[in-house]
Amino acid sequence: MRAMTSAAPTTQSLRAALMVPCYVDQFYPAVADAARRVLERHGCEVVVPKQQTCCGQPMLNSGFAKETLPVAKHCCKVFADFEYVVCPSGSCTAMVREHYRDLWLDDAKIPRVFEFCEFLHDVVGVREMDVSFPHRVGIHQGCHGLRELRLAQPSESFGCATDKTRALLSLVRDIELVNLDRPDECCGFGGLFAVSEEAVSVGMGRDRVACHERAHAEIIASGDMSCLMHLEGIIRREHRAVRVAHVAQILAGDRV
């Protein structure tokens, strides 16, 4: 299998495959690149398998379980040899980790995928970050990362899950993380829902943007570019001032 590999800068290197969500690959190469640079900066050897395509989530969410299976199997095959697979999307990670089992895939064959922030926080153990981001940032929690991966404690439930996205962003110098009056409401993307329920989807997206605006956020940051694609679509159409950025871009110190 051909792959793009890079040497890790530190000795205790973790070898991780970067799983690039298909829409990130097609529309946001800067996000995948930022994720890769952040992982490398924190001592990982990053491999990007070139045979990867899609996790199959859009199809499964449309009800096509049977048709999803070959796609899921392909994904399993591509990432089979890696101890760690890192994906800059809570949604795609949850698809592999939580939903592949529903497709009757053998547990042992399901790749060990970590969401990007989760991997940095839990596996790499990042507790310092040498970047600056002098902006007011609102965090948008992607629902699948939040509720299926427990990347934070959902506001309607009780427990003590650490907000991993916030924990990492807090390490960034000069950043100001704002508090939202609705901390984790869905943005209304929902895959094909965005199209089949266009009116509700746009209504939810507008409300989400407004929530960040009320908190005077300059940037809406998320671990899920799909949510941001939807929010950015609304922001650009309505010529709003707030911008969007994937968490990886902020952690990489990129200008957004």
Binding site: V20, C22, D25, Q26, F27, P29, A30, D33, V48, K50, Q51, Q52, T53, C54, G56, M59, N61, S62, G63, F64, E67, P70, V71, H74, C143, H144, L146, R147, E148, P154, S155, E156, S157, F158, G159, C186, G188, F189, G190, G191, F193, V195, S196, E197, E198, A199, V200, V202, G203, M204, G205, D207, M229, H230, E232, G233, I234, R236, R237, D254
Partner: protein, 455 residues
């Protein structure tokens, strides 16, 4: 089966057309969700309590026929009469028969989603029996000749001014009077007179206890209590799934119900009826209507755990922005969307798709129904039966073909990005582009990441 009902997306879009009202609806229900969060937080063992509730229900459902027989025996021993109805038609005939036998011409009916499910009101009215819905919200929608839009807050789709006009027309309140206090007082005076006039009270049932034959009915207004204590005939209508095994199990559910539904620590009136009051009659009507079929479906059985608190509706971002009527089903919202296909597969095919699958419903559900997963499973059932649009079916096959061939996937991506770049905007954003109606598409880069694309 009745005529096809309207699909969810256009009905939702119409609700959102009145932006100010939709925003009010969203904020009002978010406020209830917020109160629920605070009420749940006041119980330190909340998550453990939910776990206990789901396990009690799991156990009860696993042994449902035994518990039903035990309930029947206990209720009879306490002096009640127990009836069984397979479907809405049998239910309507049965209830009408009881009323006719007792010479009833006027009924005070408290909230019962089951009687809505069976369309009892129009049937009884056609037989010349007056039915007065006594829950204030249900009374409002009854006077307005429509259906409840929410199982706990039946008139949440109406604002004060609208209700003021409905009362002006029907109860003779002053024009322009939209004071909640004064409208409630007018309803109080009107309804209290009607209890005395009614010869029977029909109520729903929140919980029923197998070991004692007890029925539990919860309200805030005391309307169910008035309905079942003032007239001498009480007909209690319940779905088969309302049972809990032991009297003490009620503690778990009464702690969860109101906190989840409205954020109250408990409903004002939590009434326990074991047999009829002296000099009165109690008839209990048990309804199946698809419940035994649902029990047989492994992946969907959990939906029978529902205690009808409405929490999934209040938290659902889609429900809050589309209103209960957009679901065109007696029970709207997430739980309605997983119950509906079981009874009306052909008419409710857009409901499992009326969700972004955010999963908040599953988190608030006091009996831990895996609602967002069930929505997904129903999508699978619909796809299996070919009940999704042909374009989607075709799309899925093409996507599978492409996504299992990396070279083709890469080529497809290139072509898609190229076409987005070179096609005139007017063509890209034509009426066929639902995404682009009120949103921009992302700007396609020349090269994808895997194709060597960099910032």
């Amino acid at each position: 089966m009745s005529a096809r009902t309207e699909a969810h997306p256009p009905a939702a879009a119409r609700f959102l057309d009145d932006g100010a009202h939709a925003a009010w609806h969203d904020a009002a229900l978010w406020n209830v969700r917020d109160r629920r969060d605070k009420a749940a937080a006041s119980v330190p063992d909340w998550e453990r309590l939910r776990e206990q509730a789901t396990r009690i229900k799991q156990h009860t459902l696993a042994h449902l026929p035994d518990y039903l027989e035990q309930f029947e025996r206990a209720a009879r021993a306490a002096g009640a009469t127990v009836h069984w109805a397979k479907d809405p038609e049998e239910f309507r005939v049965l209830v009408h028969g009881l009323l006719k036998q007792h010479g009833v011409t006027s009924v005070a009916k408290s909230k019962s989603m089951l009687t809505e499910e069976c369309a009892l009101n129009p049937y009884l009215e056609a037989q010349g029996i007056e039915v007065v819905d006594t829950d204030l919200g249900e009374r409002v929608v009854q006077l307005n000749q429509e259906h409840p839009s929410h199982i706990v807050l039946p008139a949440i789709h109406l604002n004060k001014q609208q209700i003021g006009r409905i009362f002006e027309k029907n109860l003779g309140t002053a024009p322009g009077n939209d004071s909640a206090e004064e409208l409630t007082e007018a309803a109080r005076q009107d309804l209290r007179a009607r209890y005395l006039h009614a010869q029977a009270g029909i109520t729903g049932v929140n919980f029923a206890v197998a070991e004692t034959g007890t029925l539990v009915v919860c309200t805030n207004e005391a309307n169910a209590d008035l309905g079942m204590t003032v007239p001498k005939l009480h007909i209690a209508c319940m779905g088969l799934e309302k049972l809990v095994p032991r009297f003490e199990d009620l503690a778990v559910f009464t702690r969860l119900l109101a906190r989840s539904g409205t954020g109250q620590a408990i409903t004002a009136y939590t009434s326990h009826v074991t047999g009829p009051a002296p000099g009165s009659e109690l008839h209990i009507v048990l309804l199946d209507n698809g419940r035994s079929a649902l029990l047989a479906r492994d992946r969907f059985r959990n939906a029978l755990k529902c205690i009808r608190c409405g929490a999934c509706m209040n938290t659902c971002p889609v429900f809050r922005r589309s209103g209960g009527h957009s679901y065109n089903h007696v029970i709207p919202g997430p739980i309605g969307s997983v119950l509906a296909p079981n009874v009306a597969f052909e008419q409710t095919e857009t409901l499992p798709f009326a969700s972004s699958l955010c999963g908040s419903c599953t988190e608030v559900c006091p009996v831990k129904i895996d609602l967002h997963k069930q929505l997904l499973y129903w999508r699978e059932e619909l796809a299996k039966e070919g009940r999704v649009p042909l374009s989607k079916q075709l799309g899925a096959h093409v996507f599978t073909f492409v996504a299992t061939r990396p070279w083709l996937f890469k080529l497809g991506g290139r072509m898609m990005r190229l076409s987005l770049r070179i096609t005139p905007r007017a063509l890209v954003y034509g009426p066929w582009n639902a995404w682009g109606k009120r949103r921009e598409l992302p700007v396609p880069p020349k090269r994808s990441y895997l194709d060597g694309g960099r910032p």
